[in-house]
Subunit: 365 residues, 2 copies
């Protein structure tokens, strides 16, 4: 059995105008149904070998998150006193798991705002991750690339360097030893990676026991380790919340990738073949949604004349969106803001949000 | 003195979604102030030599038109019983002028939905037109081209074939003899036209006396002429309205250009140098409105990042329009419909309207 930690602290701005400060990406719905965090929690909950889900969330998003996750009990929300990147959030979650179930209990870590297509295949990978984590490995989920993507970091893990774990169910995939985490490549390098078979997309999903994590923290982030120890010392005391809040500020503000993974002694990866996307911007929507015959993702009352490979999305308005002779364009319509941007510039939505901040357009942030 | 006829029967669809069936182009405002027809009427009214303005309008637009032209008296609206193109509308207006002031009274004919930049220069041209019309010429307003425009018809009138009229005020331009009306040229031909000086844009503005018009109708459109005569015969009788409505259906449904102008014996043109545009589609908006430093026409709450030469227009909504990395794009936002189309496809808005008709989206037409 494995505890699942859902990281819901994100403040993503790249889905503006649908996402806002008070409603970041994990709290929006990009496919007309569940919000991304609901989908994430349900995907974890529906497997048989899950022990329970903890949701790590920032203070200002607690209420909004709780309202969409009404079947997660109050004590399973872990509130970050302040945003300090992923390493502190995961460390605090690890304390929760260790104190509730013992520090040998595997825990998985999952971003709240990713897309995963095939649930059964995902569950198999989790069974594998649990088995490897239980044996003391740091486990990362590596997605088998389907295209020479330049927008993701990669995991270098040679095809023939398999690692075995005794507890691995026979139908669950076998892990490989990780050589290194590598940065986003240019196109040429990405093509080499794809051809070699030795590189996987870094999905940002991990598993380990608290014990393994704490060991690595003691070695790599000793100040953080001290803070963790201080939290655990008071766990049964009445002043726990105050001490945790105080010690949280002593945790080094770094990501789990830089702070722990890259320097860890023993990292394995589970090669995963399920459809996955971090859905990083509007132009990625066609990775996770059906397109029409012209390659468009359409979620709106629309009238399209010679429109191809575009994203036409509206929420909260029933206005008709009429497009003529458009290629590779993103149109997002909401009651108070409309966005029009070419696919290839979808990441520049951040510039719009920056400008809104400069202009103090609080109503639109 | 000259009567002015404003043709307001148009059902232009090329400014959808701002223009609709019940609010065609002449009833919209493209520069945040007067509707186009108000601007047209005021432009005519403010000259000293105008006798009065008649407005020819379709039955279904009478109320809407009257409500924006509240200083035009009821008897000066001429209602078309049915839409039959411009020749019948103008013929009926000519009967009105002839019966009110005599058939030697010059009348000018003006589309309700054109843009004219310089009022004084326009008024000078009208004084010239009146003088030539009074002497029996058919007069057309020819705009001196400023670019090799392929979207307009041209008037062939050689630079050196001046025509004099004894009544022309000295400061009003001198007319030229018209050789022919020519169709919209291709780019190369348009460049030749521009270079030669012998070609002017056909503005669709005319002047003549009813007598001249009736003579040409008798010769070129004899059935129409008979209907005109029948109308005039009953002008003082109580059953005038019924007879006019009946006879109107006997007027040949053709445009003044094809039905009269092209075959007329004596046409002169007033070379006009004022800024003029028929504002035929959204992409023409930069001909008549100020652009910002990046060449954009912006009439909206907008946030533009690297947007050039685009039209950003909203009416009836205060939504923010955010654009990133756009060139030559038209965005028009209204409460119930949004249009996005490249400048060069602006004329294809008609296809959208056709599709709405096919789909019986009456609410959006």
């Amino acid at each position: 059995m494995m505890y699942d930690i859902v990281l819901a602290g994100g403040a993503g701005t790249r889905f503006w105008p649908l996402s806002r400060r008070e409603r970041p990406k994990q709290l929006i719905s990009l496919w007309g149904g569940d919000t991304m965090i609901e989908a994430t929690v349900n995907r974890l909950r529906t497997r048989e070998t899950g022990e329970g889900v903890f949701v790590v969330v920032g203070d200002h998003l607690l209420e909004a998150t709780r309202s969409v996750l009404d079947d997660v009990s109050d004590e399973d929300f872990i509130v970050e006193p302040s945003p300090r990147d992923t390493a502190p959030a995961i460390a605090m979650a690890a304390v929760h798991v260790a104190e509730r179930a013992g520090e040998e209990t595997p825990m998985g870590v999952f971003p709240a705002d990713h897309y995963i297509g095939a649930r059964t295949s995902f569950h198999r990978c989790l069974e594998a991750a649990e088995a490897y984590a239980r044996e003391g490995h740091i486990v990362t989920m590596g997605i088998e690339p389907t295209r020479p993507e330049t927008g993701y970091g990669y995991i270098h893990a040679e095809l023939d360097r398999n690692v075995e774990a005794s507890g691995r169910p026979s139908e669950a995939p076998r892990a490989r030893q990780v050589e290194a985490f590598v940065e986003k490549p240019d196109r040429e390098l990405a093509e080499d990676y794809l051809a070699s078979g030795d590189y996987l997309w870094n999905s940002g999903m991990f598993a380990f026991t608290p014990e393994t994590l704490f060991d690595e923290m003691e070695r790599q982030l000793p100040d953080s380790y001290e803070a963790i120890e201080a939290m655990r010392d008071v766990w049964d005391r009445d002043d726990r919340d105050a001490v945790v809040a105080e010690q949280f500020e002593c945790l080094e503000a770094t990501s789990i990738d830089y702070g722990i993974m890259e320097g860890a002694r023993d990292v394995v990866t589970i090669p995963a073949s399920f459809q996955w996307s971090d859905v990083g911007h509007w132009a990625a929507l066609d990775e996770v949604r059906e397109t029409d015959d012209d390659g468009n993702v359409v979620e709106a009352d629309s009238l399209l004349v010679d429109v191809d490979d575009s994203v036409i999305f509206s929420e909260g308005t029933d206005r008709l969106i009429a497009g003529v002779d458009l290629d590779d364009l993103v149109i997002v319509d909401t009651p108070d803001a409309l966005l029009v941007v070419p696919r290839e510039s979808a990441q520049k939505v951040r510039d719009v949000v920056d400008r809104l901040e400069d202009e103090e357009r609080e109503d639109l942030l």
